[in-house]
Subunit: 391 residues, 2 copies
């Protein structure tokens, strides 16, 4: 049974080449990269090769600026808690935005209970932070600014370069959660000007549960996982070498195929935006028309629940989500969508359509047909729709 995966934001498939190197690593059965005998050295060489591939993808000054982690969440926790604890002698104020991922929000909530204060900035109705607000929010006590590169629910991209100009001028450390951007859009840590950047391997078709943190040389930060001297003494613990080898391969492919993928994804997005009005009416597009990821479109369909759409599309073998998988289980309306100014009712009707290199225009034809039927069926039984003024 083939399932059409339009829920790439939750999980992307491994590329065949990534599968191949991961299976190769399992069969090879590497020793511990920290061991000093020759089987250890072989493992260390494989680890280094992967680190170089990721450093190339991000255009780091040196591979030593890359720390492998167990994923985007660990990277974000490491960045935020690590900077806060290492710099609290300088001040205990942090600036962020209202639309960050839970990993950022909950890390900050933890710090608040240890006496840190946090200024959380609004976004405009298009979902973007105003760099001027960042400048105004920074005080003498500010040690960290954390603003995401792209939002995982809307795909909207933030003005990171402009914010970095401000943080550099004010000598404040700048972290960007780029978990949904790295490997999808071209991204150069030196051009961006960030000090810390979190990323996840699965975003560029590597394995889930692997990610990394770019730490610019000289950035004052404590490790989150402490113990051994792995990862240049920045992240202790035996490495998930199989996953890291897959990540290195995926990073290399992302860099090599970036332009080709962008062209494919933009064509898909164009198709989706053009065809949607032929399938449904009365919906809101939450994704920024210009500043956004090419592989995600968030829409809020009026008078119905996204959850019901998701379940009915699942019956048609189409996987889609209403928000990030990380927040599944929470019944509250998305803080991201409410920050955009959506009503609770409209927020409940949201679908996140996220796709990738493995999707085709035919997938969208099938999706749009199914969506048309599902929305029509749901609206037929929707009391909200019955009461709504017809246009």
């Amino acid at each position: 049974m083939k399932v059409i995966n339009l829920d790439h934001i939750s999980a992307k498939p491994l590329l065949p080449e990534v599968k191949e190197v991961m299976i190769g690593a399992i069969e090879k059965d590497y020793h511990n990269p920290s061991s000093q005998h020759k089987t250890g050295e072989e493992a260390a060489a494989a680890l280094q090769k992967a680190r170089e591939a990721v450093a190339d993808l991000l255009n780091c000054s040196t591979p030593k600026e890359i720390v492998f982690t167990s994923g985007g969440t660990e990277s974000v926790n490491h960045a935020i808690k690590g900077v806060a604890l290492a710099n609290e002698d300088k001040g205990k104020h942090i600036v962020t935005s209202n639309i960050e991922h839970n990993a950022v929000m909950r890390s900050l909530r933890r710090l608040k209970s240890s006496g840190f204060t946090v200024t959380s900035l609004p976004v405009d109705s298009s979902g973007r932070v105003n760099p001027k607000d960042v400048a105004e929010a920074i005080t003498k006590d500010t040690i960290l600014v954390s603003v995401m590169h792209s939002n995982n629910e809307t795909g909207t991209i933030q003005p990171i370069e402009e914010i970095a100009q401000i943080t550099r001028q004010k000598k404040v450390i700048f972290h960007s959660d780029a978990v949904d951007s790295v490997g999808v859009v071209p991204l150069d840590v030196n051009k961006l000007g960030v000090d810390l950047l979190s990323f996840a391997s699965n975003t560029f078709y590597g394995p889930a549960g692997v990610g990394g943190l770019f730490i610019r040389r000289g950035t004052r930060i404590f490790p989150l996982l402490e113990g051994g001297v792995q990862e240049n003494n920045k992240r202790a613990g035996a490495e998930n070498l199989i996953g890291i080898i897959g990540t290195g391969k995926a990073a290399g492919l992302a860099l090599r195929d970036m332009d080709k993928r962008l062209m494919h994804l933009r064509a898909l997005k164009e198709k989706l935006l053009t065809e949607l009005p032929n399938s449904i009416d009365e919906y809101i597009v939450n994704t920024h028309p210009d500043y956004s990821l090419p592989n995600l479109l968030s829409i809020s369909i009026k008078y119905i629940e996204g959850e019901s759409v998701m379940l009915m599309l699942d019956d048609e073998n189409i996987a889609i989500s209403t928000r990030s998988a990380c927040a599944t289980g929470s019944l509250r309306a998305s803080h991201v969508l409410l920050s955009l100014g959506l009503s609770h009712a409209d927020a409940q009707g949201t679908l996140v359509i996220s796709y990738g290199v493995d999707n085709s225009k035919e997938d969208f034809v099938a999706f749009l047909n199914a969506l048309k039927n599902v929305v029509s069926t749901l609206r037929d039984i929707s009391p909200l729709y019955q009461k709504a003024p017809k246009t």
Copy 2:
């Protein structure tokens, strides 16, 4: 080129059955276990199956007591920092031992800089903590005791049950770092009486970079990685499902084959202890004769450096270590061996011989022959040996 792996403490090979399920998971390409559509449910079922296998291995009351992590180091950091921060309103004193792994020691050092105090208990010359010392060290401010189950450099096993009786009576949370014990020796969290237990998958021939933390129901602890609601809200972040599936398989095999493996490992240890005197003289056995792991023997060979032995054995295609791979790169003498009362010179002559189900008596014959030659060669050029009184 076949290398004889007598450095299992740094890396154990994956079992063929573990490789098979991991390759199967890569080929299957699971979706995100948190996603609510049916491909997500398939992934969630695979995750649950692995959790149940690990819970069975440890005889947990419910699989919910198992939290998967990125390895022993994360588990230890989670246990220690998570308990400390969640209970600091009750007190800020922690009791530990002098021979803990760096993951424990460095987590505690971090807490000390936030105002916690730590009492670190000595071990006797056989390497064991005295439970009476634990009882005496506990004050009204004590919130946590952390004593390892077995030591990673000597293999000596601690009196965990006796310590747990004390912590239960005094209502103090008890964590044991059992990273080198779980899956090697029978271990039942309810019989042991611990509240938290850290473990690593590779110890029982699962993949490196995967581990877990047993958290007894009702234990007050904060997550270390915060964000999404994965792992029953105790550890955020997309799961390393490929590694976790391998871990579940490895746990099932460890439980099934425990007796058979113990018999094999004990026979190997017996052979090693019996034959060693025929190969070398003037060495100290650091491993406890009765309370110790069956798969590790630590010896300190007088007048020579373990590092040189390791490198020369490497030339003979025998992998061995002088201490845990986590501490490689540090030139200081092992704090564990010094705690046993060894001199700096003797500590430098230490070899950790660690082996597993894939080793045979023939491996030991080859090792003992090579060791004899290497030690003789090194002593011929050792000024210490020339000056030593001959027996």
